[in-house]
Subunit: 410 residues, 2 copies
Amino acid sequence: MAPNKSPLAPESFPDFPVIPGVRYACGNSGMRYKGRDDVMLAEFDAGTTVAGVFTKNAMPGAPVDWGRKILPTGLARGLVVNAGIANVFTGAAGKKTVEDTATAAAQLLNASPEHIYIASTGVIGDPIPTEKITSLLPRLTEDLSADAGNSAANCILTTDTFAKGAVATAKIGNTDVTIAGFAKGSGMIAPDMATMLAFIFTDAAIPASILQQLLSDANERSFNCVTVDSDTSTSDTALLFATGRAQNVIPATNSDDSLAGFKRALLEVMTDLAQQVARDGEGASKFITVKVTGAESNPSAKTIALAIANSPLVKTAIAGEDANWGRIIMAVGKSGEKADRDKMSLKIGGILIAENGARASSYQEKDVMPHMTGKEIDIDVDVAVGDGRAFAWTCDLTHGYIEINADYRS
Amino acid sequence: MAPNKSPLAPESFPDFPVIPGVRYACGNSGMRYKGRDDVMLAEFDAGTTVAGVFTKNAMPGAPVDWGRKILPTGLARGLVVNAGIANVFTGAAGKKTVEDTATAAAQLLNASPEHIYIASTGVIGDPIPTEKITSLLPRLTEDLSADAGNSAANCILTTDTFAKGAVATAKIGNTDVTIAGFAKGSGMIAPDMATMLAFIFTDAAIPASILQQLLSDANERSFNCVTVDSDTSTSDTALLFATGRAQNVIPATNSDDSLAGFKRALLEVMTDLAQQVARDGEGASKFITVKVTGAESNPSAKTIALAIANSPLVKTAIAGEDANWGRIIMAVGKSGEKADRDKMSLKIGGILIAENGARASSYQEKDVMPHMTGKEIDIDVDVAVGDGRAFAWTCDLTHGYIEINADYRS
């Protein structure tokens, strides 16, 4: 039974374009979900370069181990994703599942196993019955289609209430390129489920080492600025595949002028997906944007922004539509970062609440109440010690979160 | 209207002994709470040494600034505590409140202002109407009594559902000494309220510099191992006052053999108080002890233990009486500390759940269910990289937390 769609979801899934060089297919393994597709196969043209970022969690799942191992090749020919069982903390059996899956897919796609990426999301601790995936692969190989991006986005979901997609275009030199991606995740807080997965595809031609830098940089400013409950999963993975079919002039370095538009478009896609993940946070009723300025550095600003975004007291206050700015001050203070208590200022919804270390004399709570009753909450903090700035996105903390994560028996 | 007493509270408040050299009095200021005492004055004999630890939050309240400023004198003659308004983020006015209060109390006690400690707990951002405290002080000075420890423990509460006290005795050389303390705090998660305050009194004679080391060491293993929701308040304060009336032989150094019993007793009192704070966490229905062994170092073990204790996913699972060990693995992994995924082990309630990086073959969920339905939950993790060990204490995350912190209008 599909959960109710988040009140913060975008109007609709975007028109997912064909990305030349990418084909998808989906099927049902029956390993956990009945009656819906839960395995996705994607095939990439030979020569597709790949970049990846993985969870920093020290207990990564077997698919993450594998991804890290093969990433240095810089090339990809396939991707297999399953939803329902995350293949985490599964020891040697989990490792074998990944290797057997990669081998089976490689054979069907006439590729090498070390060019096949694997991602899994779902319960931690259960092994995957490997044949439930591998037995599907031959039929999926036959079904591969460039038009199946929308289906692919849907078959990787676990407790998401909506599929998350984003599209952007750019020019590299004189050549138009397209970037399209989809992600799953309720911000890593689905019951028993790990994780946030994001797969981004482009027809641009970009060498793997440059692609990796582009992905890492955009990741720092997008997925790494989103939190729902601070619980970093064991399986977070973002992979970017560049097929080269656009045949643009290949950039020589990461700082080529020709890449400026692509960087902007990639950041736009990843930020969009990251924000959608926060919008699907369990029980979320409000989407919260935290902006921090005046910090010692950008990383420092991000730490402060995430401290606010992760504070249960801030998030419950917002759920209660309470402009409880004292809790925001507390969260800045607990971040461990430099902040000038007696010079800092705070706005909510553009209304000045505090400045120079005390409540603003102009502040009247009724002025911010209309903002607090809305679905989009904006918090602006200036900590008055430097030029560092950052955003963080999150959602509020409600009874819905408790219901989903506590009110059940396993 | 007093909230229902936590189901995890101890049977009763301990018999709070007279500590020679300490006298207390309480009164009602009316500044926020009507019909209950909310200001406490304590007086200490001349010669009382003092030690203090304060919040690491970068937005400390005015009383914390003051405490840090006067602590180097090492001597104390008085303590004034008020509940209801925390005097945090109040700028120059807040500073003046503290100074005026200290000056007024000093005059009444024939002491110097820099020997008067101030602590406040309550809403952040509101100034304190100073005269509401200072006007009470003359009467409180007349009412001072050595027997009023129990009353004192009750008048500093904010959203606590029970007063928290602890008592222990020790010998320094051949001399019996007593340590008694009380604390308030629902683990820093009371709506609008800051904080955790703890005041510990002893008749032992201990020089200030040694006393400070004893307090800091015990604090690291007690209050700093407790969390309710990771929100470190702006006003956390623990003060230890030693009147010297026991007339023990004064220890020459921190490592004197004569102090062994005192150290044990102090740790016992502070651990007891710290655990009571977790037991009074808002909405708490289960008290959780997390034990980590096998870490790279003791501080590393503590970081891991707190990552587990602060994880919303772990805490909601426990609230739901779900032995969701996968979330505990995730929390270990997100801690940032060294852990051997393929050698670690996990027990809940003494039942082995996972070992050597996978589910234990002996594990059957029904075996741990009785433990999960109880009020005391024990989690034991060995991360298999060294000898470091630590405890952390917390409570579960329930609808009660959301109700208290979100379901109201300010």
